[in-house]
């Protein structure tokens, strides 16, 4: 058993900026635990010496030249914004500075 707790699920929801009702919290705790239990087959393997694969192919050094390309028109960019002011995206107040 993964032993996933309701508290952990609530913590994860906070990290992911999702608000879960008590009902959803209960349901997700059960459902996520089931999925994690299914992963137990994998966890029992001894893979200490296996290298992790994050990419299917071994491409390296994919780079582009440092040449300016046209940017988007600001009007087009801000047209999609839920709120804009003074050529900027507007948001409600920010609590706290960036990490």
């Amino acid at each position: 058993m993964s032993g996933l707790t309701r508290t952990e699920v609530a913590h994860v929801a906070k990290l992911a900026r999702l608000r879960l009702s008590d009902e959803e919290l209960d349901l997700f705790t059960v459902q996520l635990a089931r999925i994690l239990d299914h992963a137990a087959d994998m966890q029992s393997l001894d893979l200490a010496d296996v290298i992790a694969t994050a990419h299917p192919y071994d491409l390296i050094n994919v780079v582009r030249e440092d040449v300016v390309r046209p940017s988007l028109a600001r009007d087009a960019v801000l047209a999609a914004a839920p709120d804009a002011e003074d050529g900027c995206f507007a948001v409600p107040r920010i609590m706290g500075e960036a990490p």
Partner: protein
């Protein structure tokens, strides 16, 4: 009419792209209310694209290899100015200011995009039932799902609304609906088709691919969209492969592995179809080798950690700041939370939660880290198999199209419907589903052909052998 015939007719001046687009629009309108295939029908864009093709033909200019062929686009592909939602409330109303590379290539080849098709929200699902805009119905039996996540695109081709469609395949999202809708669907080698402009679900697994009613059309469409793109760092460096010219290469002399893990657990009628397909390939000169690749059994577990982990990060940007939905709140963090809570459906939330958990401090090694190692094992196992055989054969799905609601209450049951398709995505290799036989309620069965990276020509040739056998039967 198939796509190749249409394009030839348009190029020869015998068919009008405008007429083909109008006929496509009529076919879409005739059944879209019933089937919910298209979320957005781009009539103006389609008619304009068709007019440009007719113009080019009239001027004597080359209108392109897909001249005048109507095509449906999965609604996770960006097309400038055309609403793109990923079937999510969180993106409702968003019109991208740029187009995906594949869309540019389609337009460059004279294809006529008809609009955007329904999918499971952010491509997370196997039935289109997680779409925020209602499920798509299977044109062959509207009480059943078309499969997913590219269910709308598969249904568009199955309902003859368009001869071609594009989907994306992260764990089977092209092959599974192709199988359930009785058409051809291809998951190309990772990196063969540019992902630029494909709204990411799981970046290391996602790949755009074609749907078509026949193998040759699918090959032509893939040729048009494949090839290196400098906008995608994971794009393979080589140009588009020659596929159409190899369709009739056959399978004589090839060794094809019938993989136990790719039929185990499938319904008897599916296993039967795969075995008959093996017999057809053998009759065409291939040597069938029965083999077992035990590592494939771990695919589902690894996939359901890797894909959600990447998704949890890819979907962080839907925060109500720059585009899409915003639900107001007093401060920006509360606004982010309110927006995401209202904008995402349950399945998307479930996977974001799962992925966030798998990456979080204290669990990374046990879950995500371990899954990446399993991925290595899976890739190595495939490579070992391909030292002995040229292609692999198995089922695409465990069953024919299922009915609505039959798996929605149990996420694990739904996930299991991708058990045969997921390993290819983890390995970054190529596979396709081709219709072969019929099962329960006369519903189509798809068999899956799998090959190593860059083996598309061989896959299409083998698929042609099966298709020819089906037509002859």
């Amino acid at each position: 009419m198939n796509a190749i015939t249409m394009a030839e007719g348009v190029r020869a001046g015998e068919l009008s792209a405008t007429t083909l687009a109008q006929e496509s629009l009529e076919a879409i309108r005739a059944r879209n209310d019933e089937l919910n295939v298209f979320l957005h029908i781009d009539e103006d864009g389609a008619m304009a694209a068709a007019a440009r093709v007719d113009d080019a033909v009239a001027r004597g200019a080359d209108p392109g290899r897909l001249a005048g062929v109507p095509i449906a686009l999965k609604d996770n592909l960006c097309q400038v100015g055309v609403p793109t939602t990923c079937s999510s409330r969180i993106l409702e109303g968003w019109r991208p200011p740029y187009s995906a590379t594949v869309v540019d290539r389609l337009l460059g080849a004279g294809a006529v995009p008809m609009g955007k098709t329904n999918l499971d929200e952010f491509a997370m699902g196997s039935s289109t039932e997680t779409s925020a805009f209602g499920p798509t119905r299977n044109p062959l039996d509207p009480t059943r799902v078309p499969g997913g996540s590219s269910g709308g695109s598969a249904a568009a081709v199955a309902a003859a609304m368009t001869p071609l469609a594009l989907g994306s395949d992260t764990g089977g999202s092209i092959r599974q609906p192709a199988a359930l809708c009785g058409i051809v669907g291809v998951k190309p080698t990772y990196g063969l088709v540019s992902r630029y402009g494909l709204i990411a679900f799981a970046s290391s697994l996602d790949q755009i691919g074609p749907f078509a009613a026949n193998v040759a059309d699918a090959a032509l469409l893939l040729e048009v969209i494949a090839g290196h793109d400098p906008m995608d760092s994971t794009s393979l460096p080589e140009p588009s492969p020659n596929l159409v010219s190899h369709l009739d290469d056959g399978v004589a002399g090839q060794r094809i592995g019938l993989v136990r893990e790719l039929i185990d657990g499938a319904d008897a009628e599916i296993v039967d179809a795969v075995e008959r397909a093996a017999a057809v390939l053998a009759a065409a000169g291939a040597t069938i080798v029965e083999l077992s690749i035990p590592e494939l059994r771990l695919g589902l577990s690894a996939y359901y950690l890797i894909a959600p982990a990447e998704a949890s990060s890819n979907l962080a940007r839907y925060d109500g700041v720059r585009y899409g939905l915003r639900v107001d709140a007093d401060d920006v963090a509360a606004m982010n939370e309110a927006t995401r809570t209202a904008g995402f459906g349950a399945e998307v939330k479930r996977r974001i939660m799962l992925g966030t958990y798998a990456l979080s401090a204290g669990y990374y090694d046990a879950y995500y880290g371990q899954a990446l190692k399993v991925r290595t094992q899976m890739r190595d196992a495939f490579r070992r198999a391909y030292e002995d055989v040229d292609l692999l054969l198995g089922a695409t799905t465990p069953s024919v199209a299922f009915t609505f609601g039959s798996k929605t209450n149990d996420p694990m049951a739904m996930y299991l419907s991708d058990v045969f398709t997921i390993p290819t995505n983890l390995a970054g290799e190529a596979a396709l589903s081709v219709p072969f036989g019929r099962g329960e309620a006369d519903l189509p069965i798809g068999v899956q052909l799998l090959g190593p990276g860059r083996s598309e020509a061989r896959l299409f040739a083998a698929a042609t052998v099966l298709e020819d056998a089906e037509r002859g039967s």
